[in-house]
């Protein structure tokens, strides 16, 4: 049972964008897709540690701003042919609020 933490409202995150939640484990990027789905990943690209929160979101993917690796938002996995994985966190929207859990998803 994850411990849900209210981190703000959905509208704080731009559509096709992300915001960062600062945590003791490091920054967590919370993404919002065009269909208002939210996903949370550790804000570090598995390639060279780029801030995924600053990347371009498209579909259910984000392109890292440093070297353009694409990361699948749902799994955290790099999109083939690249290989690597960013840790993900459970996140959901309830009543317009974004609830995040810091337990590994």
């Amino acid at each position: 049972m994850p411990d849900w933490i209210n981190v703000g409202s959905l509208t704080d995150i731009p559509r096709l964008g992300a915001r960062v939640v600062a945590t003791a484990q490091g920054d967590v990027a919370v993404f919002r897709t065009s269909s208002d789905e939210v996903f949370a990943l550790l804000d570090r690209c598995p390639h060279r540690g780029g801030p995924l929160s600053q990347g371009m979101v498209y579909g259910r993917q984000v392109a890292c701003p440093l070297h353009n690796w694409s990361i699948d938002l749902a799994s955290g996995e790099a999109v083939a042919p690249d290989i690597g994985c960013a840790p993900r966190f459970p996140v959901r929207v309830e009543g317009g609020l974004v609830l995040l859990s810091l337990r590994d998803g």
Binding site: N6, V7, D12, P65
Partner: protein, 829 residues
Amino acid sequence: MKERLVVVGNGMAGIRTVEELLKIEPQRYAITVFGDEPHSNYNRIMLSSVLAGEKRFDEIMLNDRSWYDEHDITLHAGTPVTSIDRVGRKVMACDGIEAGYDRLLLATGSVPFVLPVPGHELEGVIGFRTIADVETMVSAARSFHHAVVIGGGLLGLEAANGLLNNGMQVTVIHLPEVLMERQLDDAAASLLRATLERRGLKIVTGADTKALIGSRRVERVMLKDGRELVADLVIMAVGVRPNVALARAANLHCERGIVVNDTMQTFDPRVYAVGECVQHRHQTYGLVAPLFEQARVCANHLAYLGYGRYTGSTTATRLKVSGIELFSAGDFRGDDSSEAIVLKDTARGIYKKLILKENRIEGAVLYGDTVDGAWYYELMREKSDVSAHRDQLMFGRMHIADAGHGGEQSAAAMADDAQVCDCNGVCKGDIVNAIRTKGLFTLDDVKKHTKASSSCGGCAGLVEQILAACVGGAYSAPERKPLCSCTDFTHEEVREAIRVNRLTTREQAMAHMDWRTPDGCPGCRPALNYYMLAAWPAEAVDDAQSRFVNERVHANIQKDRSYTVVPRIWGGVTTPAELRAIADVAEKYRVPMVKITGGQRIDLVGVQKEQLPHIWADLNTAGLVSGHAYGKALRTVKTCIGSRFCRFGTQDSIGMGVALEKMTWGSWTPHKFKMAVSACPRNCAEATIKDFGVVGIEGAWELHIGGNGGLKVRVTDLLCRVKTDAEVLEYCGAFMQLYREQARYLERTAPWVERVGLPYVRQKVVDDAESRAALYRRFLDSQQPAQNDPWAEHAEEAHRLEFVPMTQIHASAVGQPPTQAGPYHGLTA
């Protein structure tokens, strides 16, 4: 219930179509594949490498049995289809198997043409098309000595080379006087012939076969001039014919091949055809790249997407005989109306010929040094006017553009650990390995998997050579290059649609052009955003989420996630007050480094994202604005001291530089745009490697365009000379506008000018005064809404939110029930 798709032909074209279809529509069809050969799909182009002993069969397999199983595809291998019942919509195979279809795909390939001479049916007379043919050749080489290859074209020479490697004595007989007459001129053919003869191949040209003689197995080849050659094995390599027997028997319209339209549909709308068996716009193709393009289009239509057209391919050839570099494309012979540029260095074994017509490349033959093949081929396809650099054309792209790869010209000579791509540090071995293990076929595939040639592109020629050596000798490039995989439209078509239909938002544009993906991708979104801003500067809605991070936060991201901040320093001139303000900011925010840039500005390095709005606000207060050092936009205008102080200066370069920067700052461009102004021909501001360079001379200004000092050093082309300062501004605005309106997104002025040709730019900007005035006016109009300091806009409190975390979770918050975590106060400035 799934629809039924039957594929006749288990070769490269048919299976590629299935692969493309599975990518976009994996669930629609229950798929059944029939193949004549008892194998699963293999790379037929590589048979010559198997014959030559350079590869094993298992290394050229493309899809093994498990692939068919994984995708629920029923494979009948070694089961030729004997007839098609178009009324009952089913196919019948030789062993009585029947399969009903809703859609039928014919990919029956081609068959070797067999000379109808007496004796052609004797044992030991074969074509060169299948794994079985190669097995026959290899086993014949163990028991027999003399092989004759009839046909000295691409296929014949690859067969002959392979048999030679198997220890046979090989004679090639060829009807015309020159080898590979469809790809080579006399000079290149004679160099090739000399190389092959040195390797031990016997070549008889002008030789017409009269008969093959033998009792059961072939023993001799008799020529019409009476000569006879001993032969235990005869390979017929005089050409291939599209395999249309099945289609013709089913009364599908066939000429030389099965006739298809631009959607790869035959005259029966339920029946599609792709590959070598096809005749499209009177052309048949035997190379792999056109087949793959056809496969993509065909898959689109099988998936009911209803768009995508195949419009034909221009092809080029590389011979796949190890150690021989040979490239041929287009009309390489020329005629009375064309001109030839020839370089011939027999001692080094190098020959290059370019055919030009009206200053455009029509064809090329390269022997010995083929690294520029891809470049010539691109210039040819783009129909670029090459008159401006015609004198250097023959020496290759390296000469014009100083692109990496250390002057290496031949991939074959490179060791596996030699670096091919100097931008991304990719070695030859990495590329070869990726091509083999991942089954790559195109330059784009290699770029994606290895990153080689994905940055400056200077090594693309070498990568193509490696690709040709690994996967096959012949390739082509698509005629149309879609903007990205989200659409089939080209850059030009997208831009035109935006202009004609007044599209001003991303959603509108994507809906109007049937974008394949809901949000586009990082490739097309910034391009669309730019095209809309360029076409409709006042109306278009700038979409921040479609901009790269640098343009969104008006700073340059660095590898450690920090940013650099560069204020605009007009014409490179600053004041003590400005310097003091910058120094104050650097101290106040503990900026780790202050650096002078190459463009005569000051760079604050190592700034944290949350600090950005505060720094901007402070700089704004001192009168400093954003320098757009992060944007696809006007960057800097570099100047020398000029006539106000310099004893040599002939013009006021600083005054001109400031005027140019005031006119153009804030203007978005397809790629970054740099300028410089020098006051005399000594050119201290290095204006001749800028996108737009101005050099003062006594009583006038020289205007230069298309220079680049970055990864490919390119000296500018001289556009013209003008007398007055006002003219400099007008020509500059007009040139920038032409570039803004016509270059593809992410195309710098240097490759753009090379692509469209200097004469075109001169015509629009210099010769035609009306065109120049209109361009200039449109440029000035576009600047009205553009010249707002983004720092001032974003430094406001409302916009600062994006720059700070939405919240901060303290370790203690974990394990608590849902509550609002501690608010984040941001950085108190």
